[in-house]
């Protein structure tokens, strides 16, 4: 299997090529079959690869597939190593988790899209982009070096741009696509700077040699910190963290399954994945970790508050996503990398479910996204309501659901690191429970606020949309059992133990040596530590969070289902705060005033500089040139041309005689031939 890892990303490429080149001429059924088929095969292959990986001894779970040379090694001279890049695909426990999420959730969303996009124009175009996205995302997570990862990194950015702007004839969508693309560019610049700095210090772009160098203490501390911060900047762009989060809420202009796949489950988690992939690097740069924890916590809280006051169902979910991504960075920042990946996994389940569910609602209401025009859908959309309930309890953190376990793991680690961070996380969790309850209340509970026409045409989803929802609902409920805290219940498999070798610096430090036999022991030792850590504080926090979540949900349910007028009065009373939240703290406006307008000003200044200074200099040079050229013309006309003309006239006079020979008449040429023959014969006779 390790020789055929490349098959996993190449399969969606095949689908992309077929649908992209021939899709416009194929029936919709064939397009959907190919698009879903290649993803399904990729999912099966991923499963086989992961099973093979699991069969290896813990600590040595690693496969690599060096496919071809991309940039051949160049001798930079002086013994320095030049840039050499291979198409290297690797599979370790971390990328194993990622490919299963990407292909699994991706497959469900592909199937859902068949139902959701059936009536939309450019059906084949949608699936072409979606397959390309899958290929790029798999390249990103399987890439064994920064270069290959960067291909995927930029590729998913491109697909995100294409899919946000899918309805390109609507200016909003096109603008949102551009915004996402440009905002990501800022992050990507930081990413490239970080990557190249690493290269200049370590002479390679591949993860394992770099991590080996880092863990064995090569490279100065400040370089590691700068690199870690730069790479985190890239992650901020891709994963929508402060200050680069603004693109993600706008990205909701794309089709809803795209929001589920790209802007909730997979692409936006690429930043988290990247940070976790480089866990030893970050552990060696604690300053960067602190920055990451603070940014993550700030984003989590900030986005959650905005989410409280949004009326657009997808905007609520978008800010919720930003907030949850902040949670993941918070986790990574406090050193709980496996918690980050665990939350990434459960988030992929319940957020994809919530987005797809909101898609079902939007679909049912003929593209109505304003929650103020919904309400009471519980009876009309029973299936959607039920799956939404599952997503709601999971994200709010009701005990035993997936969100409960993952948040708990993060919060416990955060508490050990700093109670302030823990407090921010806890407040965010409460806010999350509240805005999700508000979303449920406005959408499904209470009385209908739909207009009559829409209400008549509400319809439940078809089977292609229903089954992915049901499967995701199941995963959202039980997904948490992937990693039950050891203090609660000793499970044979936990995600934490599975991922531990990837994050353990000892794994990489031993790489240069003979074998990695020692790592298994280390892993067991660390697992043992985790077990010991179970304490009264942990149980207390767990209980506290469960209580808070349930109470918030109960409060919200009463408020929005039973007494919606109270909610309205509440809103009026805190109109000031409400407006700030509703307008998202005017961040977009502030960015516009601070960055975009100044950028325009700078452009105008540059234009002025161009017109007056640069052009002035150019004109001066021009005038000088013109003056000089008059002299040159004089010389040219009388001396150079004189000589040339003399030569020309001579040739012309000579050729005038010669051209008379060229009569164009057949028989004069024949005569010349005969004469030539005569001369030849005479010559032969004379010679012999």
């Amino acid at each position: 299997m390790s020789g055929s890892l490349w098959l996993i990303p190449i399969l969606p490429v095949i689908g992309f090529l077929i649908n992209g080149l021939l899709g416009s001429r194929m029936p919709k059924k064939a397009v959907s079959f190919i698009a879903c088929g290649v993803v399904a095969v990729a999912f099966v292959l991923s499963g086989l690869a992961v099973i093979e990986l699991a069969g290896m001894p813990a600590g040595q779970r690693y496969m690599e597939n060096r496919l071809a040379t991309w940039v051949p090694p160049v001798d930079a001279g002086g013994g320095a190593k030049g840039l050499a890049v291979d198409w290297l695909f690797t599979l370790d426990p971390l990328s194993a988790v990622m490919i299963l999420i990407v292909t699994g959730v991706g497959l469900l969303i592909h199937i859902y899209s068949v139902g959701y996009m059936w009536e939309e124009p450019g059906y084949w175009r949608y699936f072409t982009y979606l397959n390309l996205f899958m290929a790029m995302m798999l390249t990103l997570v399987l890439g064994g070096s920064f270069a290959v990862m960067f291909v995927g990194w930029e590729g998913v950015g491109l697909c995100s741009y294409l899919l946000i702007g899918y309805f390109y004839w609507k200016p909003d969508c096109a603008d949102a696509g551009r915004k996402a693309f440009i905002t990501n560019r800022i992050g990507d610049l930081a990413f490239v700077i970080g990557t190249l700095t690493l290269f200049s210090y370590f002479g390679t772009l591949e993860f394992r040699p770099i991590l080996h160098a880092v863990t064995t203490g090569q490279g100065p501390q400040w370089v590691l910190t700068v690199v870690a911060l730069c790479l985190f900047g890239g992650a901020c762009g891709k994963s929508a963290q402060i200050p680069l989060y603004v693109w993600l809420p706008d990205a909701m202009a794309g089709p809803t399954p795209v929001s589920a796949l790209i802007h909730a489950a997979t692409m936006v988690t690429a930043g988290v994945y990247m940070v976790c992939r480089l866990a030893p690097l970050y552990l060696a740069a604690p300053a960067a970790l602190t920055v990451m924890a603070c940014v993550g916590a700030a984003t989590a809280l900030f986005a959650a508050t905005i989410g409280l006051a949004q009326d657009d169902i997808k905007k609520v979910l978008a800010y919720s996503t930003v907030s949850q991504l902040g949670y993941m960075f918070l986790a990574a920042g406090v050193g709980a990398f496996s918690g980050a990946i665990f939350h990434l996994t459960t988030h992929a389940f319940f957020k994809a479910l919530l987005f797809l569910g909101s898609g079902a609602v939007i679909h049912a209401l003929h593209h109505e996204q304003d929650m103020m025009k919904m309400g009471g859908l519980r009876k009309q959309l029973p299936t959607t309501y039920k799956v939404f309930l599952c997503g709601w309890v999971a994200i709010a953190g009701v005990p035993l659901t997936s969100g409960f376990f993952s948040k708990d793991e993060i919060l416990w680690k955060a508490f050990q690191w700093s109670p302030v961070i823990w407090a921010v996380g806890a407040i965010t969790a409460v806010l999350t429970a509240f805005y999700m309850t508000r979303l449920m209340g406005l959408t499904f509970w209470g009385k209908s606020r739909m207009d009559h026409h829409t209400e008549q045409h509400v319809h439940e989803v078809g089977p292609a949309m229903k089954w992915p929802l049901v499967i995701l609902a199941g995963l959202a409920l039980v997904g948490g059992f992937l990693s039950v805290p050891a203090s609660l219940w000793h499970m044979p498999f936990t995600l934490e133990a599975w991922l531990e070798p990837v994050f353990n610096p000892a794994t990489y430090a031993a790489l240069g040596g003979t074998t990695g036999g020692a790592m298994g022991g280390d892993a067991a030792e660390l697992a043992g530590h985790a077990e010991e850590a179970g304490s009264a504080a942990e149980y207390g926090l767990m209980l506290l969070m469960s209580l808070l979540a349930v109470l918030t949900m109960w409060f919200g349910f009463n408020l929005y289902d039973k007494t919606p007028e109270k909610a309205a009065a509440f809103k009026k009373r805190f109109a000031g705060v409400y407006n700030v939240l509703k307008n998202k703290y005017w961040v977009d406006e502030i960015y516009d005033a601070l960055v975009i307008q100044n950028f325009y000003r700078l452009s105008r200044a540059a234009h002025w500089f161009d017109v007056s200074v640069v052009d002035g200099a150019v004109h001066l040079v021009r005038n000088l040139t013109v003056g000089f050229s008059y002299l040159s013309v004089f010389w040219d006309t009388w001396v150079v041309d004189g000589l040339v003309n003399l030569a020309g006239r001579t040739v012309r006079a000579g050729s005038g005689g010669l051209r008379k020979l060229q009569t164009g008449l057949l028989q004069s040429y024949a005569s010349a031939m005969v004469f030539g023959l005569f001369v030849l014969i005479c010559f032969y006779m004379y010679v012999s």
Binding site: K660, L661, T663, L665, Q667, A670, V674
Partner: protein, 100 residues
């Protein structure tokens, strides 16, 4: 047994007559007939030497000459027809667009 020199003289006569035709006549068709005469005189030389030296290769070469001549006539006459269509004349001295 006819002396080879007599045959050569005969072929030379045919060749010269063909040559004069080619050089003097204005009518392109007759110019081509002159060319045919010259080719025939060449064939006669081949045959004469083939007979004298007892080597049949000369006859084979004559056959190739005839083949080439047939092709040449076909293409040449086609050119004459197309010239006639375009210039309404088959006089060789009317065709002087290559004049320098």
């Amino acid at each position: 047994m006819i002396p080879t020199s007599h045959i050569l003289v005969f072929s030379l006569a045919l060749f010269t007559i063909g040559l004069i035709g080619v050089l003097t006549r204005r009518n392109a068709i007759i110019v081509m007939m002159g060319i045919e005469l010259m080719l025939n005189s060449a064939n006669i030389n081949f045959i004469a030497f083939s007979q004298k030296l007892g080597d049949l290769a000369g006859q084979v070469f004559s056959i190739f000459t005839i083949v080439v001549a047939a092709g040449e006539v076909a293409v040449g006459l086609a050119i004459i027809i197309s010239l006639y269509r375009n210039k309404d004349s088959i006089n060789v001295d009317d065709m002087n667009i290559m004049k320098g």
